[in-house]
């Protein structure tokens, strides 16, 4: 909490809360954005990573001689060459240690696992060399496990010989009160819900450029967390950390996949040091599909206790995450913990017991992806509510109304320990319902004459943890972030923050915050992000933390700076610091605008004409702050609970769909969003986050499914011909409305909004399609809802004698 500056800003706000135009778009939109792939260094060599074509195998021989003999190939390295590089740390004690090496040495556990690197004069030759290395590789295939069932079967082949099984983590609190609730309930049902494997797919793939100059290893990486990459490089290569500089230039999206520190972040700098010249690796699209983190593949075994009137008494849920090979840093286990923490959402019911399991398989390692376990949990909850409503003949909307938290019921601690600090759970649902009624009517009218079409509506009320702890995820880092604010002699403001930016608009946000805090215009503020030499140590951008962490750190640093600036101004004006106010870029005594001194006067005095400073004020006008949010905790308490997020946004998503019965085609007629992320700093940025998030959520609801062959654990495709990413042509009309429930304990009441958009679509679309097909009793338990899945559900119903066309 920073009450002084909060107060100051509340009384002088001119930019916070407005759609200040984005400052970061000119470069990318005019083709002048400098991405990692645009960095050209003298003598720079190109690296191609050689990846396993086997899902599970020992590598018995890698003959690199043919590749090395190829004209234009400079060097070929295998895991054995990197013996001086340490493994990625296994910081989390309660999950299975994987001891991941940057290049596999003797065993590969998924298709795409890196095991060699070819360095050549260009990418074409490097790929020719990689093909020769691949041809010279002898595998001894091992039996594969392609899914959870195979991995958990008795006697299943193990990925890690020193593990007891393929289970990396299994946390199962026992709650006797849940047992009692099941004994006392009128009814129970059990079912299994699924969330399918996807990947984040930033428009810009990953990339790393490295060079050593004058004793400094400089690394450009398309990462979301440059400081964490720096720490990992220093640790693993054994280089003093001050001699490593990591820069993330313009980054074209991350969506969580770039929060990880990947093998290439280590291998490319190692090559640059080894060869003494610049090296670069740019991930290509095909690589990206298997070499960057996957996510979302979870199974949920659910037991629900409910009464005749639809009241849910208790839920037991075992959430099992398919971790892929688990060879990823940071580990990919955290999303399934978030799933269990968020299943309840804004719904209040008496008892819940969640078991959290992570299992390794021979697939690309699972990790972070926008939503980070939240959509999976919301899907389970909403499908359960629809089921209970149907089983008890209760209205779906009425049942939700009964369960949702009402005004005045926050703060509310969920069953997993998450503390909903504020929110508009009932209000957002009601407001979304108001918008839905005419949308539903329109859809029904539109299709009234077509007997092949059914219309349905589906609901999702969700919560979104924002500014989370990184400790549960990494086992190491916490939850702070940082900013340094400086005013130069000319009065210009410079903000450098530990946050990064991948397109969200964090630079614009930082400028708005600093402008209002210091009484200047955003144009006077220069923002520096994503460079470890120029910005203080921060954790980067992920977990919907940009807005809150920037607010906290920029305002804290600005307050300290303003305090010093006031004292300098007071000295120049021969007044008392307590009487000095700043507005429109000038300091004066409150109530009398003249005489005044400008930020340039103060800056010049602080840095240049230091002879004018009073004796008790040091030269310079620069302050730093490290902000850690209130209420954010990092360790489980004795009951196994944790509030691992600083604040909780919430919202409602409602899908109105039409379904063509004969072909199974689904069309989202309208998608309604009511979104509450606390105080909004820039409405246009928030709206953009919601729109993009919803379309990514629709990707999971209807399109994307990363499939593997169940016999061989080979990916079933390698391009966008088959991995179906929705485009603007598939985006439905999205209606966005905002409610602002300020975070009571955070500066300015700011929460976060990066992920909420992804959360609702799977639940809302599955609910809407099930509703549309209620004549058949269809109750979808997984996504994507494809035409094939819809037809299969109709066929199954008709075979069981349900539906208008069924023969009884």
């Amino acid at each position: 909490m920073i009450p002084d500056i909060d107060d100051h800003i509340r009384h002088s706000t001119r930019h916070i809360g407005r759609s200040v135009p984005r400052r970061e778009d000119r470069g990318p939109l005019t083709g002048r954005g400098r991405y990692v792939a645009d960095i050209k260094l003298p003598g720079m060599l190109e690296v191609c990573i050689v990846r396993s074509t086997e899902a599970h195998a020992r590598i018995t021989e890698i003959d690199t001689s043919q590749a090395e003999a190829l004209d234009g190939v400079v060097a070929v390295y295998t895991g054995a060459d990197l013996a001086d590089v340490s493994t990625f740390p296994d910081y989390i004690a309660y999950i299975g240690a994987v001891r991941q090496r940057p290049l596999a040495t003797d065993r590969v556990r998924y298709v795409g696992a890196p095991y060699a690197a070819v360095v050549a004069v260009d990418r074409y030759v490097a790929e020719d060399g990689a093909a020769l290395v691949a041809a010279g590789t002898i595998y001894e295939p091992l039996p594969t496990v392609a899914d959870l069932a195979q991995a958990l079967a008795p006697g299943a082949p193990k990925l890690f010989d020193d593990w007891d099984s393929n289970v990396s983590v299994d946390v199962a609190p026992h709650k006797p009160e849940v047992d009692r609730a099941f004994e006392e309930a009128d009814h129970t049902f059990t079912d299994t819900y699924w969330s399918q494997r996807q990947t984040g797919l930033p428009m810009e793939t990953r990339g790393v450029v490295a060079e050593v100059t004058d004793g400094t290893l400089t690394v450009w990486s398309s990462t979301q967390s440059p400081h964490m990459v720096r720490t990992a490089i220093a640790l693993m290569l054994g280089v003093p950390e001050p001699q490593v500089r990591v820069i993330h230039p313009v980054v074209g999206g991350g969506f969580g996949t770039k929060t990880h520190t990947y093998p290439e972040d280590i291998v490319v700098p190692w090559i640059a040091r080894r060869l003494g010249c610049a090296a670069r690796w740019i991930e290509d699209r095909a690589e990206n599909l298997v070499a960057s983190a996957h996510a979302r593949e979870q199974r949920h075994d659910v037991e629900v206790a409910y009464d005749d009137d639809g009241a849910i008494g208790a839920i037991r849920c075992t959430s099992t995450l398919d971790m892929g090979s688990g060879e990823i840093f940071m580990p990919g286990t955290a999303p399934v913990f978030v799933t269990n923490a968020c299943i309840t959402g804004g719904y209040d019911f008496p008892n819940m017991q969640a078991r959290t399991v992570g299992v390794v398989t021979n697939k690309t390692p699972a990790g972070a992806y926008r939503g980070f376990g939240i959509p999976e949990g919301a899907f389970v909850m909403e499908r359960i509510i629809d089921r209970v409503a149907r089983l008890t003949g209760t209205d779906r909307v009425a049942l939700r109304r009964r369960m949702l938290l009402r005004p005045g019921q926050t703060p509310h601690v969920m069953h997993g320990g998450g503390r909903l600090d504020s929110g508009s759970h009932t209000e957002s649902f009601e407001r979304a319902l108001e918008t839905t009624a005419p949308a539903l009517e329109r859809a029904r009218t539109r299709h009234a004459d077509d007997s092949d079409v059914r219309v349905g509506v589906g609901y999702c009320n969700y919560v979104e943890p924002t500014s989370p702890s990184y400790h549960l995820t990494t086992g190491q880092w916490g939850g702070h972030d940082s900013a340094t604010v400086r005013v130069d002699p000319d009065g210009s403001v410079r903000v450098a923050a530990g946050l990064s930016a991948m397109g969200q608009g964090n630079e614009t946000t930082a400028a708005q915050l600093a402008a209002d805090a210091l009484g200047v215009s955003p144009e006077q503020v220069t923002v520096v992000l994503g460079d470890t030499e120029r910005a203080p140590y921060g954790l980067g951008s992920w977990g919907s933390r940009g807005a809150m962490m920037l607010t906290g750190s920029v305002l804290m640093a600005s307050e300290r700076l303003l305090d010093k600036a006031r004292r300098i101004a007071a000295h120049l004006l021969e007044a008392s610091p307590g009487d000095i106010v700043v507005s429109d870029g000038a300091f004066h005594v409150a109530g009398s605008p003249q005489p005044s001194v400008s930020w340039a006067d103060v800056g010049t005095t602080a840095w240049v004409r230091t002879v004018d400073l009073p004796d008790d004020i040091e030269a310079g006008l620069e302050t730093s702050a490290f902000y850690h949010p209130e209420h954010l905790t990092h360790q489980l308490d004795e009951d196994g609970k944790i509030n691992a997020a600083a604040s909780w946004s919430n919202g409602t998503h409602i899908a109105v769909v039409s379904v063509r019965v004969s072909t199974g085609e689904v069309r989202i007629e309208d998608f309604i969003v009511v979104h509450d992320c606390g105080t909004v700093i820039n409405p246009a940025l928030v709206e953009g986050q919601v729109h993009g998030g919803v379309v990514q959520g629709i990707a999971g609801a209807m399109y994307e499914h990363f499939q593997y062959d169940s016999d061989t654990a080979q990916p079933r495709f390698s391009s966008f011909m088959d991995y179906l990413v929705p485009t603007c042509a598939e985006a439905p009309p999205i209606d966005v409305d905002h409610i602002e429930s300020p975070a009571p304990d955070q500066p300015l009441g700011v929460k976060g909004c990066g992920e909420g958009g992804t959360v609702g679509p799977p639940a809302a679309v599955a609910g809407a399609v099930s509703d549309a097909l209620s004549e058949w009793g269809v109750d979808l338990t997984e996504c994507p809802v494809t035409p094939v899945a819809v037809r299969a559900a109709i066929r199954a119903a008709e075979a069981a004698g349900r539906g208008p066309g069924a023969t009884r």
Partner: protein
């Protein structure tokens, strides 16, 4: 995603192109490159010489005559799509091309290239079979004309010999009064079809007099749906769908299964597309 080394040549005549192909260990013709170049970048196809025919004079010509439309090998899909005369004589060209890729793809992709590529889920090969198009090719031994149904042999497999190049495809005019429908189930706008149908239907007094039906994305090559054609003959909108659905499913008995759909799905939606096309034809009475 960089191709293996290859040679590139840009002949100025068909005979030079044929010579280049004949001399190549593994030559391929480049026209629009919308399928070939990605395949090369993925190193899925082995190409020693790429023969770019876009400089061959006259190959981009589109000739519209009352009896049909002749499309040269270098004519882009956008060019044909925009041709009102072609659309008047062979309505199927326009309705099929609307389903092909996106604007950027059609600006480079060629009509003949799509047919020569023979993707089993592509619209243009199915149209060619449906209208009895003729594919003209030139080779070391001279030229020959091949009926589309004999040209398209299987997935990415045609009757074209190694050193032959497609020079043009002639699409005969649609019968007077016929309605051409190209409809498909595709997962996203511009995707190849999961299952698709080209239907040329002649309605008379709200009854189907005759129908010519070709399914695509069902088998290895465009598939004439003879049973469905028979079932549709004499069909009217108030008749039940079931006979048509069953006939189409029988035509598609050997439908394939892939990542996008089961064989069962393909069989049943093919029938749904036939019914949809018939209703559309009966309702419109004129070309859409």
């Amino acid at each position: 995603m960089k191709p293996a080394p290859f040679e590139y040549c840009r002949p100025s005549s068909v005979s030079e192109a044929v010579d280049a192909l004949a001399a190549a260990e593994s030559g391929r013709v480049l026209a629009g490159g919308q399928s070939l170049i990605p395949a090369m970048n993925f190193r899925l196809t082995d190409v020693s010489v790429l023969v770019d025919i876009r400089d061959v004079a006259g190959l981009d010509r589109v000739t519209v005559e009352p009896g049909g439309v002749t499309v040269g090998a270098a004519a882009t899909q956008s060019r044909v799509l925009a041709d009102d005369g072609a659309a008047a004589v062979v309505p199927g060209l326009r309705v099929a091309l609307r389903h092909v890729g996106h604007l950027q793809i059609r600006n480079r992709g060629t009509v003949c290239g799509s047919i020569a590529h023979a993707d089993p889920a592509a619209e243009l090969p199915a149209l060619a079979v449906a209208v009895d198009a003729t594919i003209s090719v030139e080779g070391p031994d001279g030229g020959r004309n091949i009926a589309a149904r004999d040209f398209l042999l299987g997935p990415f497999w045609t009757a074209l010999d190694d050193a032959e190049v497609v020079t043009e495809v002639c699409f005969p005019a649609a019968p007077e009064g016929a309605v051409t429908v190209v409809d498909e189930i595709s997962r996203r706008a511009g995707d190849f079809a999961v299952t698709g149908l080209v239907a040329i239907i002649e309605p008379v007094d709200a009854v189907v007099r005759s129908a010519r039906l070709v399914g695509f994305g069902v088998g290895g090559a465009p598939m004439r749906l003879t049973e469905a054609e028979a079932a549709l003959s004499g069909w009217a909108g108030h008749h039940t769908d079931s006979a048509v659905l069953e006939a189409a499913a029988a035509d598609a008995a050997d439908a394939f299964e892939d990542i996008h759909a089961t064989a069962e799905y393909r069989r049943e939606v093919l029938g749904a597309l036939v019914v949809r096309a018939a209703r559309k034809a009966l309702n419109s009475g004129a070309s859409p």
